[in-house]
Amino acid sequence: MLLEVRDLRASINGVEILKGIDLTVRAGEAHAVMGPNGSGKSTLAYVLAGHPNYEVTGGRVTFDGRDLLAMSTEERARASVFLSFQHPIEIPGVRMDHFLRAGYNELRKAHGEAELDPLKFDRLLRTKVKVVEMNTNMTKRSVNEGFSGGEKKRNEILQMAVMEPKLAILDEVDSGLDVDALRTVSSGINSLRTPDNAIIVVTHYQRLLNYIVPDHVHVLADGRIAASGGKELALKVEAEGYDWLAEANAPSR
C-alpha cells in the first residue's frame, strides 16, 4: 500500500473542509479526484502535501509505511510526495535550474545519495525537458516569472520528471491549457508512470481523463467522498453534472 488515508479531517481558519476522507492508493495506480467547486479537492491535495495553513483535526495518513501527518512539508517532499500546483508560484531572480537543483539535491541527500554538481544536473535537465517538450532556455529564467499559463504547467511536470516521485498529486494540471498543450502535458505525465509510482489527478473536468486514464475515480462533495468507481464514473459526471450527488447523499446529512 503506497498511500492510506483514513477518516481525514482538516479545517482552515476554524472552518472544517475535509470531513472524513478515506482513500487507498496502490503503486502503479492512477486515481482521479473530481468534484464541484468548494468540495475540498484542492484542500485534500494541500493537506497531503503539508500546507501550513490547514489544520488536520482528525484521521491518519500512512505513506510508504510512514506517518505522513507527522512529517514536515519538506520531509514529505524528500520522502517522494510531489504536488503539481494549480497556480505555480513565481520566485523573481531565482533561476529555475538553480532552484530545481537545490531541491533535487535535498531529495538525494535524504536518500543517502551524493549531490549532483551543476554540470551533471544540467545534463539530467537536458533529458528531462524533452518529457514536456520544453526549451532548455526556459530553465535559465526566473522560476515561473513571466511564464504563460501553459508554460507554468509544463514547468510543473518538468519538476515532476526530475524528482521522480512515488506519489504525484496533480492539482488541476489541465486548467488554462489548450488542446495541444493538454496533450503534451498528459503524455509527459503518462511517460513518467511506472509500476512503482502512483498519481492522484485532481480535476474539474472529464476532458483530462481522456488523456490520463484513471483506474479509480472519486467524486468529492462537501468534504467527503460521495462516490467511487471506475473511469465510467467520470463519464457520468460529464453527462449529468454533480447535482445527482446531493440527492444521493441527502439521507446521510
Binding site: 503539508g50 501550513p52 519538506e74 500546483f85 520566485i91 523573481p92 531572480g93 532552484f99 535535498e106
Partner: protein, 485 residues
C-alpha cells in the same frame, strides 16, 4: 506557520563572525579633538605645510558646525549625541622603522588579515586582485605594487601618495568633496588618516581588481580614512572595499570620505562590501558608518558605477553619488542594504546631471528583518542645461517579519523638457506561498528564504566583480543564516 516563524527569528538573530580583536602594540592618540591633535596627526605623517593648512581649515569649520549645533538631523536614524572629545583620532600598530617589505609587518596584523580571508603574502593572495590593507588608522601593506607600476598605475596609501605624488593629491584632494561639504566630511578632512590612493594613467585598463580592506581594531578609536581614485582619459579601473570590526559594547565612529574622478571616456567601477560590526541583538554597540562618497564624471563619455552591499554597521548614513558633468557621461548606483536586529540604514544616492545627454541608473534593494529600519533616500537632479538626459530608478523593499520598517524618500528635480525620469518602487514580503512552494520541492523554510532573498538581490549581485559576488552571497547567508542553493 510555526516553522516559518521560527526560521524568521533565526534569520534575524544570526551572529557576527568577525567580532574578535587583535592584540597589537599600538600607538594611540589620547582621546579628544583639538588643533594640537590635528597638528600631531599631520606631523606623524610628515605632511607638507599646505596639507596641514587644509586640515586646520577643515578643523575650524567643523568646530564652528559643532558650536552651531549643525549636526545633520534630517536622516531617518536615531542615536544619542556623539561626544567628539571622547574619541581617539589616531591609532596604529607600532612600527619598528619604515616598512620595506611584508616581512616587517607585525605578525599579529598579518594574521588578522589571514583570519579575515585577505591573505597579504604573495603566495596566498587571491589571483587577479591587488590589496591595500588598512588597520585602524594606517595602511599596513599594499600588494602587487610592482605589477601595477609596470602600467604606470599608482596604488598606494594616501600617506605615501602625499610623499610620492604631492601634485596629484593637491590637485584632486577635496575637488569632489570639499571639507565644507557636510558635517562628517569636515571632521574627516581635519583628522583623516590613511586610505587608498589610485591613479590610472591615460589609456590604461587596470589589469587587476584593486581592493582595500578596512579593519577597525582599537577600542575607543574611530576610523577616518580618505580614498581617492583618479581615472585619466580612456582608462578603466574596478575597485572594491571591504570592512569589519571587533564586537564592542560602545559605538565606534567611521567617517570616511571617498572621492572619484573620471576624465574623458574613463570608467570607474567602485564596489563595497560593508560588514562593520552591527551591534548585538539588543542594539548595543556597533559602528556608526557616516560616510561621504562621491564621484565626478568630469570628462565626456565617462562613467562611474557604485555597487554596494551593506550588511553591517549599527547605523549607516551614506549616499554614494555621481556628478555628471561631462556630456554623455553615465552614473550608476546598485545597492543591497540589509538591516536586522536594531540596525538603521539611511542610504541612497544623488545623481546630479549637469552635462548634456547624461544617463543615470539607480537600483536599490532594501531588506529589513527584526527591528531593522531601512530608508532609501535619493536625489535625481537634472539641471536646465543637461538636455536630453535620462534617469531610471527602481527601489524595492523586502520585509521579513512585522517589526521592521522600509521607507523610500525620493527627490526628483527635472530642469528641462527634453529629459526624462522614471521611478518604480515596490515593497514586498517573503510570501508564505513562495516558502511553501520551495518546501514542496524539498527545501527547508530557511533555505527557501535564503533563496528568495538572493533572488531579490540578484540584479545588484551580478554587478559585483566575480571574485566578490561569491563573498557577497556568503555574507548575506551568514547574516541571514540561510543556506543558498
Amino acid at each position: 506557520m510555526a516553522t516559518a516563524n521560527k526560521s524568521l527569528q533565526e534569520l534575524a538573530a544570526s551572529e557576527y563572525r568577525y567580532g574578535w580583536s587583535t592584540n597589537v602594540d599600538a600607538e594611540t592618540a589620547p582621546p579628544g579633538l583639538n588643533e594640537a591633535i590635528v597638528r600631531w596627526i599631520s606631523a606623524k605623517k610628515g605632511e607638507p605645510e599646505w596639507l596641514l593648512e587644509w586640515r586646520l581649515k577643515a578643523f575650524r569649520h567643523f568646530m564652528k558646525l559643532v558650536e552651531e549645533e549643525k549636526t545633520p538631523e534630517w536622516a531617518n536614524v536615531h542615536f544619542p549625541p556623539i561626544d567628539y572629545q571622547a574619541i581617539s583620532y589616531y591609532s596604529a600598530p607600532k612600527a619598528k622603522a619604515e616598512l620595506q617589505s611584508l616581512d616587517e609587518v607585525d605578525k599579529e596584523v598579518l594574521e588578522t588579515f589571514n583570519k579575515l580571508g585577505i591573505p597579504l603574502e604573495e603566495q596566498k593572495r587571491l589571483a587577479g586582485v591587488a590589496v591595500d590593507a588598512i588597520f585602524d588608522s594606517v595602511s599596513v601593506a599594499t600588494t602587487a605594487k610592482e605589477t601595477l607600476a609596470k602600467h604606470g598605475i599608482i596604488f598606494s596609501s594616501v600617506s605615501e601618495a602625499v610623499k610620492d605624488h604631492p601634485e596629484l593629491v593637491k590637485q584632486y584632494l577635496g575637488s569632489v568633496v570639499p571639507y565644507s561639504d557636510n558635517f562628517y566630511a569636515a571632521l574627516n578632512s581635519a583628522v583623516f588618516s590613511d586610505g587608498s590612493f589610485v591613479y590610472i594613467p591615460p589609456g590604461v585598463r587596470c589589469p587587476l581588481e584593486l581592493s582595500t580592506y578596512f579593519r577597525i581594531n582599537t577600542a575607543g578609536s574611530g576610523q577616518f580614512e580618505r580614498t581617492m581614485i583618479i581615472a585619466d582619459r580612456k582608462s578603466y579601473v574596478s575597485y572594491l572595499e571591504g570592512c569589519s570590526a571587533p564586537m564592542r559594547d560602545e559605538n565606534q565612529l567611521h567617517a570616511a570620505v571617498v572621492e572619484l574622478v573620471a576624465l574623458d571616456e574613463a570608467e570607474i567601477k567602485y564596489s563595497t562590501i560593508q560588514n562593520w560590526y552591527p551591534g548585538d541583538e539588543q542594539g548595543k554597540g556597533g559602528i556608526y558608518n557616516f560616510v561621504t562618497k562621491r564621484g565626478k564624471c568630469a570628462g565626456h563619455h565617462s562613467k562611474i558605477s557604485w555597487t554596494q552591499v551593506e550588511t553591517g554597521s549599527a547605523i549607516t548614513w551614506k549616499y554614494p553619488s555621481v556628478i555628471l558633468q561631462g556630456d554623455h557621461s553615465v552614473g550608476e548606483f546598485y545597492s543591497v542594504a540589509l538591516t536586522k536586529a536594531y540596525q538603521q540604514a539611511d542610504t541612497g544616492t544623488k545623481m546630479i546631471h549637469m552635462g548634456k545627454h547624461t544617463t543615470s541608473t539607480i537600483i536599490s534593494k532594501g531588506i529589513s528583518a527584526g527591528h531593522g529600519q531601512n530608508t532609501y533616500r535619493g536625489l535625481v537632479r537634472i539641471l536646465p542645461k543637461a538636455t536630453g538626459s535620462k534617469n531610471y530608478t527602481e527601489c524595492d523593499s523586502l520585509l521579513l517579519g512585522d517589526k521592521c520598517g522600509a521607507h523610500t524618500v525620493p527627490y526628483i528635480e527635472v530642469g528641462n523638457p527634453t529629459s526624462s525620469v522614471q521611478h518604480e518602487a515596490s515593497t514586498s514580503k517573503v510570501s508564505e506561498a513562495q516558502v511553501f512552494y520551495c518546501q514542496q520541492r524539498g527545501l527547508s523554510a530557511e533555505q527557501a528564504e535564503g533563496l528568495i532573498i538572493n533572488g531579490f538581490c540578484r540584479d545588484v549581485f551580478k554587478r559585483l566583480p566575480l571574485e566578490f559576488a561569491v563573498e557577497a552571497n556568503r555574507l548575506l547567508e551568514v547574516n541571514l543564516e540561510g543556506a543558498i542553493g
